[in-house]
Symmetry: C2
Amino acid sequence: MRIVELGERLLVEHISALLKNTTAGDDCAVIECGSEFLVVSTDMLHRKTDFPEQMSWYQIGWMSAAVNLSDVAAMGAKPVGLLFALGLPESVTVNLVDEMMEGITACADTVSCKVIGGDIDSHSELTIVGTALGKVNPSNILYRTGIKVGDVVCVTGSLGGAGAAIFALKHNMRCPEKLACRLFEPVPRIAEAVTIGKTKMATAMMDISDGLAASLYELSRANNHIGFSISAEKIPVNKDIEQLFSKEEALSLSLYEGGDFELLFTVQKDKVVELQKKVDFTVIGDVVEKGIVLEKTVSTGKIIIECLNDKGYEHIKSS
Amino acid sequence: MRIVELGERLLVEHISALLKNTTAGDDCAVIECGSEFLVVSTDMLHRKTDFPEQMSWYQIGWMSAAVNLSDVAAMGAKPVGLLFALGLPESVTVNLVDEMMEGITACADTVSCKVIGGDIDSHSELTIVGTALGKVNPSNILYRTGIKVGDVVCVTGSLGGAGAAIFALKHNMRCPEKLACRLFEPVPRIAEAVTIGKTKMATAMMDISDGLAASLYELSRANNHIGFSISAEKIPVNKDIEQLFSKEEALSLSLYEGGDFELLFTVQKDKVVELQKKVDFTVIGDVVEKGIVLEKTVSTGKIIIECLNDKGYEHIKSS
């Protein structure tokens, strides 16, 4: 069977089973580091799939740092270093490499992190593999598991902005700069993640860069197929896209397009008010026994419930 | 200027200067980890440059683990985990991925290390980026710096075996399996490296996978252009290649072809005998004020001295 017939998620599950890796599925691997935990994430990005022509080399660098730092954030950890393996086409100029490194360091600077190592290779296709390391106190770490029925579902920031930019790119629409920035220069939510971890009020966390719906399905699979009931009205749809798209379209972008580097986490219901004093976030629904559904109030005032689809960004699409 | 005009080494120096990264040049990045140091290495390998058609998928996996583990060894550290970002062409079958993972885990098993995480992506060209993590007591870590005039130069194992296999592949010669194994299934010298670090008798260390001569030049640059006088007769040329090549050819393969995953290190002269009781290695020369030279005894008994060339494996060849 070719891998494309299996699809990314099943291939990952297959390899994890081969490796008997019980921690697979979290955003980072975890190893002991004195009295702390060290978390490590690695992500491959490359020209064809991840860097549309409209992206500057600065943004390519920024994005490459952001994806890995966001994975570190997802565990509640503080980044302590980045490494990059760069596969560069031989025609690339040193100036472009400089621009890319500027983007990498600018993104890393926002979270006081440094590039500490790497590798350079020539490659037919621009390929950047970042590795991010972070540290977290073992009692503050957050995994994808640990969710209980009765917890509430929360997200940081707003959703749909990056998705709108993806839509604009696909359809050759003009894309407002603010939205292009959401897509091309995402800011990893390190400060929020570290605070959420420290308060010990959250029960699980992941980053949402593959899309909200797909991430809810991931959380469900990691927690014995637990369910989520999300309220459409509560989803913090990006204000800048409301003028460009209908309400339905904006909601769909917020649910099914990836690229927003926000945190998705669950919190014990009685801790929400206290946690909201420390971190900005929105409660978007509840953890329920089963089913991943969206509650919508329609114009008649009637509430309708629909199942969310398990779709979002897959790197290897199953055919 | 295009990167190919600059070449790999100068590009690495240029980027290190941009990043103000003072530890660049060592085999791994180093971060504090409780009372220990954590070392991290990342290496990109891909089909066109690193995996000739003759390599099996098992060997591709093995090699991908070995290059990173060897970097960890070079610092005297014990591996604690591996991550892999896999870029797979969509036509690849799950069976081949299984074979590759088998190779990865078989190599990792030789040094009691596990794969703890990774990423999977589709890619036009098979691309594997491994990240290896290791731990070492700060007083046992070995860098490329620290060499003093009067130290002796040492290598583990034998040289030229992998180079002979590269030569055979290039010239469509039959390659004895033992030599193909040297090239395709190199065994990282973890046990030796950890022992060398623990004894505190070595002054610097690196791995020699880019070739002996190129590695000596690397060590020289890291140590204020210190010199090395290597004795041709002392170089532990792989016994299996002596029957296939002339003495001169075998020496040249040992000096200038990479692929032997051995350790190159310097030791205080008065500690050599004691260290040899604990680790198998060969003293091949002396650290001198300057110049990187090879001493040869010719048939007349006369000793001739020639400069070694700074050549070996470069991933981005300068034009």
